[in-house]
């Protein structure tokens, strides 16, 4: 028996100090991992927005009835949109601010369309924690800077909807939009 050559097994060390069984372990784990990862990802990914939610419905807004100083609210992707007709004084207020002093430096021109800078169209979603700021409807508080005021945590926005005071980090977001005519706009 002792003189007979023993059958090599998976537990024998190779000259490199490895066993064949090590390869089997690695191959098994890799194969199982290759199966588990896509399944786990699909379980995570199912929580992302579904196709119907993503089907980005664009909306048309008719602005013809909105007088200077007024604003209208609309809903887009489940979020409120503010479309505001700025008065000449509000435009002047927004323009005389030194942009370098702002938390999120942007000029009024960066936030409106050329030739239609009296139309300030933004999301009505505070960039702090997502409340709807006040100031779009008649009689609502407009905050210390005459724009919008978020009552949740006290963020004040100016007449270009730029953050001026309070915890919000950014200006109110400007959604993608196109003017179809001087008083009609497509959002999305």
């Amino acid at each position: 028996m002792a003189s007979e050559a023993r059958q090599a097994t998976a537990d024998d060390l190779t000259p490199g100090g490895e066993r064949r069984r090590d390869f089997l372990y690695v191959a098994t784990a890799a194969f199982a991992g290759a199966g588990v990862v896509p399944v786990a990802w699909s379980l995570v990914n199912q929580m992302n927005p579904s196709a119907d939610v993503l089907a980005l419905a664009s909306i048309d807004l008719d602005l013809s009835a909105v007088q200077p100083g007024q604003a209208i609210k609309a809903s887009w992707r489940g979020k409120p949109i503010f479309a505001r007709h700025l008065t000449p004084e509000e435009i002047a207020d927004a323009k005389k601010v030194d942009v370098a002093t702002l938390r999120d430096p942007q000029k009024l021109e960066d936030r409106t369309k050329p030739g239609s800078e009296q139309w300030l169209i933004t999301l009505g979603v505070c960039t702090h924690l997502g409340c709807v700021p006040l100031g779009a409807a008649d009689g609502e508080a407009k905050g210390d800077f005459g724009g919008y005021f978020c009552p949740c945590h006290g963020s004040h926005y100016d007449t270009a909807a730029r953050i001026r005071k309070g915890p919000a980090p950014l200006n109110l977001e400007v959604p993608p939009y196109q003017f179809k005519s001087p008083t009609s706009v497509t959002i999305g």
Binding site: V44, M47, N48, P49, S50, V53, K73, S75, R77, G78, K79, P80, R103, G124, H128, L129, G130, C131, V132, P133, L134, C150, P151, C152, H153, G154, G166, P167, A168, P169
Partner: protein, 431 residues
């Protein structure tokens, strides 16, 4: 696992013996909650709150399962289905009020349970794992309560979901994607409501599982006690049953009386009236506040109003709020004093009560509108909250001169209640 003098389970009936050899469940109960679990003889009423928390969870699970039979997780009908429970379902109003008031009571009981652990040093070796598992339960409770509150789909539900998921948007780069992923959309909607319902049903059972681990970890060193010193002999303990089962039932009776008073007479006193307005994504309530049990953490979140160190205010608030709880996981290593109970730590005892006042004051700030003087006060209190754990406690536990500890639990008990002085009788539990 237990003390050597613990009573041994002896099945008497043939059925009991048959069972013991096949599934020793009666033995398990005997050793966990019965005469087989020797417990320090000096536990006061504050040691009742662990059991009360367990009962509160059971009340939530039972009433919750019943509510789920009548609730519809769809944004179009969720609010109406809650009103349907209140008005049409037989006794539905009582079940729902028990569930809503029960959530508040669960938190109240757990807060007392946590502060009891803080006062008597129950987080210290060898009980660190019990403490940390308790914090895991607390975090799970917070997630469960938040998601349950959203299900009603009232104004506070909706805007609470908006604000709380908005916390994640503060994270750099991936924040907005995470918020969208949590919501299943760009704002709270049907996908959000459905997943919250699913998880709200799941998590209480996860909590139950972690409670099993919490109690298992407790049974290894056994309960701490008001003196904070270790059990040394049989004279220091009494069997859990009948001594603490009886005592816990008295406490439970009082708890249920108070609970019933709230359910039947002032069921809405702990809630926000705005949540009886159906959710409206286009109108934010003037004053968004969570339920009272989140107020201290909400105050910490709102305390950060300016950017510093290159980090936006919003992210600071979120980091601080999470840190305020995660910090507690480190408490066993921040408080290095070998003396557990604050009864023997004169300085730490004062600081404990200061901390209680600070925590309550943070609660008041969190429930107040985001304006002065509340914002400034929140900032000062938040600074103290962190200083208490990170600076004051580590220093005090090094410098403090503690009082002399009693020789044993029974010695402390007899010094307080023993008659005749002199020769202290050896305490023996009555048979």
């Amino acid at each position: 696992m237990s003390f050597p003098w613990a009573k041994q389970y002896q099945p008497t009936s043939e059925v009991g013996k048959w069972m013991d050899q096949r599934l020793p469940l009666p033995r398990f109960i005997f050793n966990a909650l019965g005469p087989g679990y020797p417990t320090p003889r000096n536990l006061n009423a504050f040691y009742n709150f662990g059991v009360l928390a367990g009962v509160a969870l059971v009340i939530q699970i039972i009433t919750g399962v019943v509510l789920a039979m009548h609730f519809a997780a769809d944004t179009r009908v969720a609010f109406d289905s809650v009103e349907h429970i209140m008005r049409d379902v037989n006794g539905g109003w009582m079940i729902r009020y028990m569930h809503a008031v029960g959530a508040s009571f669960f938190f109240g009981v757990v807060y007392i349970h946590i502060f009891r652990g803080l006062y008597y040093g129950s987080y210290k070796p060898p009980r660190e794992m019990i403490w940390m598992l308790g914090l895991v339960i607390f975090l799970l409770m917070m997630a469960t309560a938040f998601m349950g509150y959203v299900l009603v789909w009232g104004q506070m539900s909706f805007w609470g979901a908006q604000v709380i998921t908005g916390l994640f948007s503060a994270l750099p780069i991936v924040g907005t994607s995470i918020q969208t992923w949590l919501l299943g959309g760009f704002s709270p909607d049907n996908a959000t409501l459905n997943r919250f319902f699913s998880l709200h049903y799941l998590l209480p059972f996860v909590i139950f599982g972690v409670i099993v681990l919490h109690v298992w970890a407790l049974h290894i060193p056994g309960s701490n006690n008001p003196t904070g010193i270790d059990v040394k002999s049989e004279a220091d303990t009494v069997p859990f049953h009948p001594y603490y089962t009886a005592k816990d039932f008295v406490g439970l009776g009082i708890y249920l009386i108070v609970f019933a008073a709230f359910v039947f007479f002032i069921p809405n006193s702990l809630g926000e009236p705005d949540n009886y307005i159906p959710a409206n994504p286009l109108s934010t309530p003037a004053h968004i506040v969570p339920e009272w049990y989140f107020w201290p953490f909400y105050a910490i979140l709102r305390a950060f109003t300016t950017d510093f160190l290159g980090v936006p205010a919003k992210l600071w608030g979120v980091i601080a709020m999470f840190a305020s709880i995660l910090l507690l996981f480190l408490l066993p290593w921040l408080d290095t004093s070998p003396v557990r109970s604050n009864n023997y730590r004169p300085l730490s005892r004062i600081l404990f009560w200061v901390f209680v006042v600070v925590a309550l004051a943070l609660g008041v700030c969190g429930g107040a509108p985001a304006e002065e003087p509340w914002v400034r006060l929140s900032q000062v209190l938040t600074a103290y909250y962190f200083a208490h754990f990170l600076i004051i406690l580590p220093i005090v536990s090094k410098l403090e001169k503690t009082k002399a500890l009693p020789g044993s639990i029974s010695e402390a008990v007899l010094a307080k209640y023993g008659k005749g002085g002199g020769a202290a009788p050896v305490a023996q539990p009555a048979e």
